[in-house]
């Protein structure tokens, strides 16, 4: 009885240590996460990577490096001017889209039919994930009920040859049986 009580106390202390450890970890993570640096000049680079150069080189505006490319130079100047005048990101992207056409945006916008571009991959992933989980659960349910039925009938363990075969299969397909 006393031994059992000691074990329970020891177990509770162990649990407390784990909780304290987890709290310290969470605190460390929170502190580190809050140490973000501020860098407003990154906006030009960020927007430059959300727009395309319109010269036909198929490169992002921020990465177009063609010598004498008239388009990228002008676009960059326009972008810098809009940022300097305090325009918001969405306003700048809309202005570029209105002036150069929708293809100047490096990715589909979140409006109109473009939304489909963003939704479809997520929808397919979620549907495939749920489908796979349901399928595996159904399969495992079928296997389990088949095993239970076999146990109930006594057919599962009645045949020693079967047992050794099952053991052989387990061994060959077990953790050391191949990749």
């Amino acid at each position: 009885m006393i031994a059992s009580l000691h074990m329970r106390i020891k177990g509770a202390q162990g649990l407390n240590n784990w909780i304290k450890g987890a709290q310290a970890l969470a605190l460390a993570v929170a502190v580190c996460f809050s140490l973000g640096a501020s860098d407003s000049s990154a906006r030009f680079s960020d927007l430059g990577h959300r727009l395309m150069c319109t010269c036909g080189c198929a490169q992002l505006l921020g990465e177009c490096n063609h010598v004498g490319c008239q388009e990228s130079g002008r676009e960059r100047e326009e972008l810098a001017a809009m940022i300097a005048s305090g325009d918001k990101d969405d306003t700048i992207l809309s202005a570029f889209s209105a002036k150069y056409g929708a293809t100047v945006l490096a990715a589909p916008s979140g409006k109109g039919f473009d939304v489909v571009a963003w939704i479809a991959p997520v929808a397919v992933f979620v549907a495939a994930l749920l489908g796979t989980i349901l399928l595996v659960r159904r399969w495992s349910g079928v296997s389990l009920s088949a095993e239970k039925a076999a146990l109930k009938d006594g057919t599962a363990v009645a045949d020693p040859a079967n047992e050794s075969l099952v053991e052989k299969i387990r061994r060959e397909t077990g953790a050391d049986g191949g990749f």
């Binding site: 996460f33 990465e63 929708a102 490096a106 990715a107 109109g112 399969w139």
Partner: protein, 671 residues
């Protein structure tokens, strides 16, 4: 030579057609068992020999084209368009695949070469090889028909012959371009072979899983070629295009990635079929899809369906490929419906937490990734069709959608091999996953302390967030793989009394497939770490007069001269930059800008100084027309060399997996 080449191609087409018709007839006679005027086995053998002779014919045609390039035979339109007298020898070889017609000839030649090997090794399983050979000949008939009638490489120029050709595209005049396209094509074309075996095995209701074992080597080799081809392409883009990156999500890059993703899924899921007799239909469709995606990729590249910097000139062959694509799809569906009862699974997945279900999820993620790439590639066409205006689907889209999927896949890379087949217990999970979980969280904290913070100005910094997750998962996966390997080695060391290193070697020799796979996974982890480094790129651009300096990272670049040079092929402007660190000169870099004389096209030659931690990447962007001084762009790319190192490990792992495993002494003695 043009007449010889054209004749060789016509003969090759006739031989492939004979192989198809005679082979199909012989197989039909064998299947029905009806009395026949000649022995069906002998007829099938003549078909096989026609296939072997076909390889000789296509080789003659390829030789004729290469000979014409080297002898500057500008009476052939293709040679005049893609070569010139001053072109260096190795690039004359590259001219073979630099244009539409030549690259299709290369495709046909590689297909014939694969067919040659397949037909020579037919004794392994005569009937299955006969089926596969006939299906392969059908694919050959298509490609040979295209290069005979739609895109002939030996067309002659009309009128006055030019003294010199237009020369090779400057972008292709780089050493890797002599290797990258053939490797990529070896991968693309190679998937035809497992496709033929899968379709053949389904048609003949092949008993057992032997066809999977036969195709395993073909698939692995093909996958290795495609992997190396893709990464060489990345390295070429990095070293030649001069924008500092290596993957631009261009439709042609995407076209190579899609069959790679489905091929990778196939390599994983065939293990389920081999071990447990599961996923038979799935595997058949995976390899069908891989082949169809190879054809789709070719269609995208060559038909001008999507705009790409890589695309070949638009031509009528798009129609040929579209018809072929739908024909193959129809055949696959028809045969599958007819024979699907043959593909009934022997077993089912028993638990959500098991090796089997990890394979399922791995396949799921790879296929979703493939869907995302396909969707992003085709969405501009869909948008134009639906709303009448094209949109761009570029890097920001893929970064947001594909990277999380890739990270999930990385997680499965570590989790999958730790789970046993059938089902697992909590004890086993705890034992296997405690060390990787600790490694993961230690890495998170270390990264946060080192300044990799996923927040900036109160908002999520996507690049840093992905990098942090990638580093943490990589540490977890690496620990998982190494601890599993170490556990196995310790058991072997205990059993055999060998030291730990000898035990590690023995472990690999005893199960090359498993530990080759582990090497590949470690290679993937290293590649991911390299890719995550892109989140910390720095760049600086400056016009440099003599003795002007610019800084990037800890480096100071001083312009100590700029000069010009020329040869028969190009003229070049280059800058001489002394690079110092902490006031001490370390090395000199010479970024260059070439202008090719035959085409007048400019070409960047990037100067790269690579160390394990980062690449210093310097581009000569040209001269300011007002001041005539060079404009230099310097980029510090962290961890890029890890990508190339990871690929080497992936290649090594694949080679290890191809080696047959050593049987334990007891088993040897028993045989």
């Amino acid at each position: 030579m043009a007449a010889f080449g054209s004749l060789a191609l016509l003969i090759a087409l006739a031989l492939a057609a004979y192989n198809l018709l005679a082979g199909a007839l012989a197989l039909r006679w064998i299947a029905t068992g009806q009395p026949t005027p000649i022995s069906p086995e002998r007829l099938a053998d003549t078909a096989r020999r026609a296939g072997i002779a076909g390889f000789a014919a296509v080789t003659c045609a390829a030789f004729a084209l290469v000979w014409s390039v080297f002898t500057n035979d500008f009476s052939i339109a293709y040679i005049a368009e893609h070569s010139n007298r001053a072109l260096p020898g190795p690039y004359k070889f590259a001219a073979l695949w630099s244009g539409q017609e030549g690259s299709l000839l290369l495709w046909a030649w590689l297909l014939a070469a694969y067919g040659f090997v397949l037909r020579l090794t037919h004794k392994r399983d005569v009937k299955l090889y006969a089926y596969a050979g006939v299906i392969l000949s059908a694919v050959q008939v298509f490609f040979l028909a295209v290069i005979n009638f739609a895109a002939p490489p030996f067309s002659l120029l009309k009128g006055v012959l030019p003294d010199d050709g237009n020369g090779l595209n400057p972008l292709l005049q780089y050493p890797e371009m002599v290797i990258h396209p053939p490797l990529l094509y070896l991968g693309y074309v190679g998937f035809t072979v497992p496709f033929c075996f899968a379709l053949g095995a389904l048609m003949m209701r092949y008993p057992g899983e032997k066809w999977i074992k036969i195709t395993r080597v073909w698939t692995l080799v093909t996958w290795l070629f495609l992997t190396c081809g893709i990464f060489l392409g990345m390295h070429w883009a990095y070293a030649v295009l001069g924008w500092g990156g290596y993957w631009g999500w261009d439709p042609v890059e995407n076209a190579s990635l899609m069959p790679w993703l489905t091929g990778t899924a196939f390599l994983h899921s065939v293990m389920m079929q081999e071990k447990k007799g599961m996923m038979k239909s799935w595997n058949v469709w995976l390899i069908f899809s891989t082949f169809l995606l190879s054809i789709l990729g070719t269609l995208l590249t060559r038909a001008g369906l999507v705009s790409s910097v890589h695309a070949f000139a638009q031509s009528s062959i798009g129609t040929w490929f579209t018809v072929f694509l739908f024909f193959v799809l129809a055949v696959c569906i028809f045969v599958y419906i007819l024979q699907r009862s043959h593909l009934k699974a022997d077993n089912q997945v028993e638990s959500l937490v098991s090796r089997e279900s990890s394979f399922l999820f791995n396949n799921l993620v790879l296929l979703v990734a493939c869907f995302i790439v396909l969707w992003g590639t085709l969405f501009p066409i869909l948008s134009e069709y639906v709303v009448g205006s094209k949109v761009t689907v570029g890097a920001p889209f893929y970064n947001r959608v594909a990277i999380p999927i890739g990270l999930f896949l990385l997680l499965l890379t570590g989790v999958g091999p730790l789970l046993p087949w059938r089902s697992t217990s909590m004890r086993s999970i705890r034992r296997n996953f405690i060390a990787p979980t600790i490694a993961l969280w230690v890495t998170v904290i270390a990264c946060l302390v080192a300044g990799v913070r996923p927040w900036k100005d109160g908002a999520v910094d996507q690049g840093n967030l992905y990098a942090l997750v990638a580093f943490a998962l990589s540490a977890g996966v690496l620990t998982a793989i190494l601890s599993e390997y170490g556990r196995g080695a310790r058991v072997i060391a205990k059993q055999t009394g060998k030291n730990i290193f000898a035990a590690m070697y023995l472990l690999i020799r005893r199960n090359t497939r498993r530990y080759g796979g582990y090497f590949i996974h470690i290679g993937v982890v290293i590649v991911v770490v390299g890719l995550a480094g892109a989140a910390f790129n720095q760049s600086n651009e400056k016009e440099l007069a003599l003795h002007d300096t610019m800084t990037i990272g800890g480096y100071t670049l001083e312009c100590v001269g700029f000069d010009q040079a020329s040869n028969d092929n190009y003229t070049s402007d280059f800058a001489l930059l002394d690079v110092s660190k902490g006031g001490v000169k370390q090395f000199q870099m010479t970024p260059e800008k070439r202008v090719y004389l035959s085409t007048g096209q400019p070409q960047t030659m990037v100067a790269i100084h690579s160390v394990p931690g980062w690449d210093l990447y310097v581009v000569f962007e040209g001269k300011n027309p007002d001041t005539n001084q060079p404009i230099i762009k310097a980029i510090l790319n962290p961890l890029v060399s890890w990508i190339w190192a990871g690929v080497l490990l992936i290649a090594l792992g694949t080679l290890v997996a191809l080696f047959p495993s050593q049987k334990p002494a007891a088993q040897k003695g028993g045989q």
